[in-house]
């Protein structure tokens, strides 16, 4: 704007529109007035005070820069920077000061926050310059690597270009003294005089705002992102001594709920992004590793029962047990429509992008990292001692009016009445050993970069025998760029072999054996089963019965790109992922109870998941008008296959041959299944960025999925996202000077959901489980519905981000609202129909909305001492907005309109009947019988809020990191476990000591009902009531890590370039209501998440 005015001032242009009464005033006068007026607006508060005597002008300019925050450019050839000046100004406007400072030979422009000093030119001069100058330049990073796609814009003009694959750019029609602005994601923008731009070095940003964020088919920064994306860095993952990368996400990301199912090494973690969107529970996010869909997703990959199985959640071996956390560079959680719509239907429940580490150019670097540690069970619920237990049993028999007989009460009649064993110590009180080692080699030139790494991990169980969960992995990464940098190819491959060995059942349940249960071993070391002729449970059988899962996981991808034109690139991403799990479970005769068939049985199962993905893409970048336009057009071809088979062999002559099918006399159960999923899509994204201030992002996608019947396979989805970085506006900067960053962003879009399983639309029959008369049999596979179609998910989001004091404090508040309709439900049916459910669309509307807060603050940054805090919180809400016809549907007593899908909807507990001593419930309709008509909502199981807080303190090489996560929620309490497992107080099982506060005639005000040897008549109401839910809020000291970077001096004479020693602890302390009862797994009979301690060293050569 100023250039415009200045030029026209000189040329005395004639088209200035001047009111008639001003015509008599010389034109120069009012042009200057307008100029001054504008300058004074622009330089408001930019006053300068100088008191300089005979100093070089360069020094004076520096002082002005310091006072105003402006940058100054001048051409050293024409401007004598050593010219000495004397000047005194007292809080005068910048312009006045500059006028006084510069001699008549020079003019200056003030553009945005830049002052450009020029030689005053004659008209002829100017024209000559413009014609002749074609500027060629190159943009590189600090290491000299070309920065591809950096944006070069000419200050104040509409000319914009981007660098090519060699980092080069060309601009014409400009003067040597014009100023270029060079920006690149994650780097500090640079302003430079055009003639000095032959090699421009950009430096990395230090602010968190400018850390690179991986998004769908590209990268951006938090600053420029129009969508909602959270990043977990490799550093945050490395701080946590966990073997499952999902574990490292717990409490770190707003809107992401991570829940561990059991503490057994290798077990599953459930992840959910922004609540439950679907009644059918198809709420799994899409998981991509380097852009390739992870074939098994987050489903359990095991099919045989073992200690990994959690009966309540139905989960077992986690597929992420095959992913090495230390190979991961970052994990991005994509949440809103803007970020996820490009994945179409697969992204309805959010997207998890896992990016693996890549090699960097430079000299060869070897990194070795090894740590060792141990694991143990934390505090557990206190159980009854023998006296309390026997008292309970006697009282229970007397309450039931039953005289105990030996078969039903061996604990009272046969077993030693004084014996006591703490089965917690015996069965789950062991110490697991943990070893983790990694070695990697990386380096390369500008043409080839590589990374080769290997890792080993082993963790033994806390059960009496140390069955280890081990994993070995290799990963390689190779990038090649052609000499002209037009062609680029990146190959990544990682292969993981896992061996998970564990007990056949979680022994935690058997810590509840009667505390006076006799010995488990006979004198000759065999399992003991009988005492006084009565058989009892022997938990060691589950250790004699071994479970082994071999997993192999190959993740490979090939990314090629070719620059057809300087601003047009063709890319093809190809990826293949294959995960196989081979399981075997051996139940030798020696592990069988006398009342079981004395036949050794081996179960074998094999599951194979594979997925390949081909994504051709065309990317076009161009400066248009004042902004940078980025267009992406692409297609996806995706296929996923899963195959599983299982075989049961029995009747082995010797236990040594139990893994040999030939040694079995009977191979009795063979089953195999196969599923094929095909998916095709066409997508487009248009991103337009005006001066890093106004950003618009449009996404469209057409999806086809094989999960739908003919005519229903295709659907269209789209999203729009926009952001306004208001801190980029001059007027705003002046309004609130402490605000260094402010962004308002919003998005809206429609995605779909096809998580309903394959082939559900087919009217099909399958082979029966059993043959009959030796002939094959057929049974219907299920009820079918050919007419169902896509679930629709509408996502809305608005957020505001702030940065204060040079972004030392970053704060962001977001509101999201997802509404999913046309619900695809496994509509529950009564067994009258022959099946439990059918897939169909339902006009139910579910809303997930909530607030997300994040804050990052560098509280202290003084010399070597740094203290920073990262905080996040989520307040989620889930609501069934409408469900037409729910009253007459099978969901009538499962969900309620206006309430959360995860409501506690059941009988209302009304205390203990003072006369009978058993739990009573509200008979809402007063008809004397208890059924679903008496159900009421008495709370919801969604967390009320959750999040995490990290404190990092560092001093010189020392760093201490303390991470808490917290959750306010209702959840299953220990009665849930007892009543659903039919292990209520009074039966032949030990109980938590707290249930001694039970009803007796004398203690009618008790907390728990009277003891009973059988389930009370109201017992099945208990598990359907709010009695089994209570406050399960917690704060957990999830992680504590301490590291020390060895000072360089001590390493001076070695090859070592860096070394770090560290100590880490995980799941250290939990504060919750019910001491010892894990509020996360909420299962009394499942191993709680283990405490982990490790000590390690990392060295770089």
């Amino acid at each position: 704007m100023f250039i415009f005015l200045q030029n026209h001032t000189r040329k005395r242009v004639k088209f200035c529109i001047v009111p008639k009464f001003l015509r008599h005033i010389p034109i120069r006068y009012y042009c200057t007035t307008i100029l001054l007026l504008l300058v004074s607006i622009a330089t408001h508060a930019q006053n300068v005070t100088l008191k300089v005597k005979d100093r070089p002008i360069s020094e004076v300019i520096k002082s002005i820069e310091k006072q105003t925050g402006y940058t100054t450019f001048y051409d050293a050839e024409i401007f004598d920077r050593n010219r000495r000046v004397t000047i005194t100004t007292d809080n005068l406007p910048l312009k006045t000061v500059l006028d006084r400072l510069l001699s008549n030979n020079y003019s200056y422009d003030i553009i945005s926050k830049t002052i450009v000093i020029k030689e005053k030119m004659q008209v002829g001069d100017l024209e000559k310059k413009i014609k002749s100058d074609i500027i060629k330049g190159r943009v590189v990073d600090e290491k000299g690597q070309p920065l591809v796609g950096a944006t070069i814009s000419l200050q104040g003009k509409q000319q914009i270009t981007t660098t090519n694959s060699n980092g080069e750019f060309t601009l014409s029609d400009l003067g040597a003294r014009d100023v270029l602005t060079i920006t690149f994601v994650g780097y500090v923008p640079k302003k430079i005089l055009a003639k000095n731009s032959s090699v421009v070095i950009l430096t990395r940003m230090e602010s968190k705002l400018d850390d690179v964020q991986v998004i769908a088919y590209g990268t951006t920064t938090k600053r420029l992102n129009t969508g909602s994306v959270s990043t977990i860095t490799t550093k945050e993952i490395a701080q946590q001594p966990v073997s499952n990368p999902l574990a490292a996400l717990s409490g770190k990301v707003p809107g992401l709920l991570v829940t561990q199912s059991t503490g057994v090494p290798g077990s599953s973690f459930n992840i959910q992004i922004r609540g439950r969107n679907s009644i059918a529970q198809g709420s799994q996010p899409l998981i991509l590793i380097d852009g390739i869909p992870f074939a098994p997703g987050n489903e359990a990959i095991s099919s045989l029962p073992s200690a990994l199985t959690n009966g309540v959640t139905g989960t077992a071996l986690s597929p992420f047990n095959s992913i090495n956390p230390s190979d991961i560079e970052s994990i991005e959680i994509l949440k809103d429509a803007d970020a996820t719509t490009i994945y179409g239907s697969r992204g309805a429940n959010g997207v998890v992008l896992i990016t693996t580490k890549k090699g960097n150019a430079g000299k060869t670097r070897v990194t070795a990292n090894i740590n060792q540690g141990f694991t143990q069970v934390g505090t557990t619920v206190k159980l009854m001692d023998t006296q309390q237990y026997l008292e309970m049993r006697r009282e229970a028999f007397s309450n039931s009016g039953v005289v105990p007989i030996a078969a039903q009460a061996p604990d009272l009649l046969i077993w030693d009445q004084n014996r006591y064993t703490n089965y917690k110590d015996e069965l789950i009180g062991g110490t697991g050993k943990l070893t983790n080692a990694q070695l990697s080699l990386s380096g390369g030139s500008s043409e080839i970069q590589y990374l080769i790494g290997g890792s080993f991990y082993s963790e033994t169980a806390v059960f009496p025998n140390a069955l280890p969960n081990t994993r070995g992995a290799v990963n390689t990464n190779l990038t090649h760029s052609s000499k002209d940098q037009r062609f680029k190819i990146t190959m990544s491959a990682s292969y993981t072999a896992g061996l998970n060995r564990t007990a056949a059942a979680d022994l935690t349940r058997y810590t509840f054996l009667s505390p006076n249960t006799p010995d488990f071993f006979t004198s000759d070391g065999k399992l003991k089963w009988l005492e006084g002729g009565i058989q009892y449970e022997n938990p060691y059988r589950y250790l004699f019965q071994t479970y082994t899962a071999n997993t192999n996981n190959l993740v490979s991808s090939l990314n090629t790109s070719y620059k057809i034109l300087d601003n047009l690139t063709l890319k093809v991403a190809i990826g293949y992922n294959q995960l196989t799990a081979k399981e075997k479970k051996l139940s030798p005769v020696s592990s069988l109870a006398p009342n079981q068939n004395q036949i050794g049985t081996s179960n074998f199962a094999r599951s194979e998941y594979s997925s390949w993905n081909i994504e051709p893409q065309l990317e076009y970048q161009k400066g248009i008008w004042k902004g940078k336009l980025d267009i992406l057009l692409g297609g996806t071809f995706h296929q996923k296959k899963s195959y599983s088979e299982s075989i049961t062999a029995s009747g082995f002559t010797t236990e040594a041959l139990m893994e040999s099918l030939q040694a079995a006399s009977t191979i009795s159960y063979v089953d195999n299944a196969f599923a094929h999923y095909k998916y095709q899509a066409l997508f487009a994204r248009v991103n337009y960025n005006i001066e890093d201030k106004y950003l618009v992002n449009l996404t469209a996608r057409r999806d086809g999925s094989s999960r739908f019947g003919p005519g229903k396979q295709y659907a269209n989805f789209g999203a729009v996202g926009a952001a306004w970085i208001f801190s980029g506006e001059n007027w705003f900067k002046n309004l609130i000077p402490i605000l260094s960053f402010g962004k308002l962003r919003g998005s809206f879009g429609i995605t779909g959901n096809d998580q309903i399983g394959d082939y559900q639309f087919l009217d099909s029959w399958q082979a029966g489980i059993q043959t009959y008369e030796g002939n094959a049999t057929l049974i219907p596979s299920g009820l079918y519905n050919p007419d169902y179609s896509w679930e629709v998910n509408k996502k809305l989001e608005g957020a505001i981000d702030f940065g204060f004091w040079d972004n030392r404090i970053l704060f962001s508040i977001g509101y999201y609202r997802n509404r999913s309709s046309n619900q695809l439900v496994a509509y529950r049916l009564p067994y009258l129909t022959g099946f439990a459910s059918i897939i169909r669309n339902f006009p139910a509307l579910i809303q997930n909305d909530g607030w997300e807060f994040t804050a990052n603050a560098d509280l202290l940054k003084k010399d070597q001492l740094k203290w920073s805090i990262a905080f996040n919180a989520t307040i989620p809400r889930n609501k069934l907005l409408s469900f037409p016809g729910i009253e007459s549907s099978t969901y009538a007593s499962v969900y309620k309109v206006g309430e959360s899908l995860n409501s506690i909807y059941g009988f209302k507990y009304t205390g203990i009947d003072p006369s009978s001593g058993i739990y009573t419930f509200s008979d809402v309709d007063g008809n004397g019988s208890y059924n679903s008509k008496d159900f009421v909502i008495s709370g919801r199981l969604d967390p009320k809020f959750y999040g995490g807080i990290t404190n990092t303190v560092s001093y010189k090489g020392l760093e201490l990191n303390i991470f808490f996560d917290y959750r306010k929620q209702m959840g299953r309490n220990l009665l849930y476990s007892m009543y659903t497992s039919s292990m209520v107080p009074g039966m032949l099982w030990n109980q938590p000591a707290i249930v001694t506060d039970r009803w007796t005639a004398a203690n009618s005000n008790a907390e728990y009902e009277k003891y009973s040897t059988v389930m009370q008549s109201t017992a099945d109401r208990v598990s359907l009531s709010d009695r089994v839910y209570s406050d399960q809020s917690f704060i957990r000291l999830r992680n504590l890590s301490f590291s020390y970077m060895l000072p360089m001096k001590t390493q001076a004479k070695t090859l070592l370039t860096g070394a770090r020693i560290y100590a880490q602890g995980q799941n250290l302390v939990t504060w919750n209501r019910q001491r010892g009862f894990d509020p996360e797994t909420q299962n009394l009979y499942a191993l709680p998440p283990l405490r982990i301690f490790t000590l390690g060293i990392q060295a770089t050569f």
């Binding site: 078969a407 039903q408 009988l530 006084g532 002729g533 009565i534 034109l565 006398p594 009342n595 079981q596 068939n597 036949i599 051709p616 297609g635 006399s665 009977t666 191979i667 009795s668 195999n672 299944a673 196969f674 094929h676 999923y677 095909k678 998916y679 095709q680 066409l682 086809g704 094989s706 396979q713 394959d758 082939y759 087919l762 099909s764 029959w765 399958q766 029966g768 059993q770 043959t771 009959y772 008369e773 049999t777 057929l778 219907p780 596979s781 529950r828 009564p830 067994y831 129909t833 022959g834 099946f835 059918i838 007459s888 007593s893 059924n931 679903s932 039966m987 059988v1014 389930m1015 008549s1017």
Partner: protein, 459 residues
């Protein structure tokens, strides 16, 4: 512009818009579509065999063992010695609407089979590819199986929804039909089966029902509806056919080749279990383990001296000096070689059914002759029973049936219910007996999912 540009873009667009069939998938290896099932005799037969594979489920279900166990516990013939609370509930007759065993064995399983029978009937009726002869045979079998399932549903729960199509929309909301409606449908299905099934078995064994099997069930139904004449005729037809005869050697009654067996359900050869009854009733060999299910003193005392069934069909095991008696009709606990199949219908039932009917038809000599056929076989040296009083003969028949069919298909429980004696008998035998326990509760989950279902009184 580079010459490579246009071809590249063209190729790109061509690639991503081609493959119209990109999202069509082949059928999974383990599935075929419904029309293909009824497109030839072989697959249609496999679909009907699927009914039996479900009925003979290795885990046990109402049609394979668990009726013998749980209905035996509910009556006065068996006592449970274990601690599993859901099984104990059958023994104490305090059964809740949430009992999982009741739900899966006696409700869900029969309805699953009924669904498949309905699907088979619909598929066969609409198929023109299946040959008429096979179609007739298969339709007869499907109708029979449907009637068989409804028979047990009716006797366990009373009124139940009567579903005759595979239409899940209406089935899901069905209310209960009256016992009369269900019974008349059972009779209709059995008559249809009789008109379509041949008198010989379709395969070499007796593993698939024939005309006589349908007739045997019809005689049972007639007994319940007190169509004495119908019982006399149907039972008489089977007895008189000469196809079946009483085994004189009691140890052969339950073998695969049993001459008195009308219909047997077979567990696949690959399984080591021969029958669920044998596997669950016979205790393990370990000398110290008490049998899980023992016969009650009241049943044991009902055996007359010299009754060979007491020695042949009752097993004894002494543990810690206490002797326990358990059902020992099936002799194989487990063996990969099959010598026994679960017998669903045995000829003695027809004799006793006819005896009871003749009694009501005032044909006492005929009744006594039938009764004594069974008594003589069990106790060749004993005196034939004789009386001229109808009620005395009736009681003798009832007692004989209790002994002949103990621990077999819940015969005692269903007979007590049929003759209205449950309260009288069980209030003496059980401490916690209440009248409501005569019928089992409709599973609570099912009512929850289908608001049109009502619960039995008292639950």
């Amino acid at each position: 512009m580079k010459p490579a540009l246009y071809p590249t873009i063209f190729l790109f667009i061509f690639v991503i818009t081609s493959c119209k069939k990109a999202v069509d998938v082949d059928l999974p290896i383990n599935k075929i579509t419904s029309p293909a099932v009824f497109a030839d005799d072989k697959t249609a037969t496999a679909a009907v065999l699927g009914l039996y594979s479900k009925m003979a489920a290795t885990a046990g279900t109402f049609s394979n063992g668990t009726t013998s166990i749980y209905m035996g516990l509910s009556s006065d013939e068996l006592k449970y010695m274990g601690t599993a609370s859901e099984i104990l509930a059958f023994n104490t007759n305090i059964i809740s609407a949430d009992n999982g065993l009741l739900y899966s064995n006696f409700w869900a399983d029969p309805y699953k089979i009924i669904y498949q029978a309905n699907a088979c009937i619909e598929g066969l009726n609409s198929s023109s590819a299946v040959t008429n002869e096979v179609k007739k045979q298969l339709l007869g079998e499907a109708c029979f199986v449907r009637a068989f399932c409804y028979w047990y549903l009716l006797n366990v729960f009373g009124d139940v929804p009567l579903l005759l199509s595979s239409d899940y929309e209406t089935n899901a909301r069905s209310a209960r039909n009256t016992s009369t409606q269900v019974t008349s449908q059972i009779i209709q299905d059995l008559e249809a089966a009789r008109s379509m099934l041949s008198k010989s078995y379709p395969t070499s064994g007796k593993l698939r029902p024939n005309y006589y099997v349908a007739t045997a069930l019809l005689s049972r139904v007639n007994l319940k509806v007190e169509n004495w004449k119908g019982v006399d005729e149907t039972a008489g037809e089977i007895i008189g056919s000469g196809v079946y005869s009483l085994e004189t050697d009691l140890s052969k009654c339950f073998l695969i080749g049993s001459k008195e067996a009308l219909w047997q359900l077979a567990i696949p050869d690959a399984q080591i279990i021969n029958t669920i009854e044998g596997n669950r009733f016979i205790p393990v060999s370990s000398v110290t383990v008490v049998p899980n299910y023992v016969l009650t003193p009241s049943l044991l005392s009902a055996f007359e001296s010299g009754d060979l069934r007491r020695t042949n069909w009752v097993g004894t095991k002494t543990v810690s000096g206490v002797s326990y008696q358990y059902p020992y009709k099936y002799k194989v606990r487990s063996n990969a070689v099959k010598s026994e199949h679960c017998i669903v219908f045995r000829l003695p039932e027809l004799y006793l059914n006819r005896a009871e009917a003749r009694c009501h038809l005032n044909n006492l000599p005929g009744a006594l002759s039938d009764l004594n056929e069974i008594k003589k076989r069990a106790n060749p040296s004993g005196q034939p029973f004789s009386s001229t009083t109808q009620s005395v003969v009736e009681a003798a028949i009832s007692k004989e049936k209790r002994i002949e069919f103990f621990a077999e298909w819940g015969m005692r429980w269903f007979d007590l219910g049929r003759t209205g004696q449950t309260d009288n008998v069980l209030s003496l035998a059980k401490t916690a007996w209440t009248g409501k326990a005569k019928l089992f509760p409709i599973p609570a989950t099912e009512i929850q999912l289908n608001p049109n279902l009502t619960q039995n009184p008292g639950f």
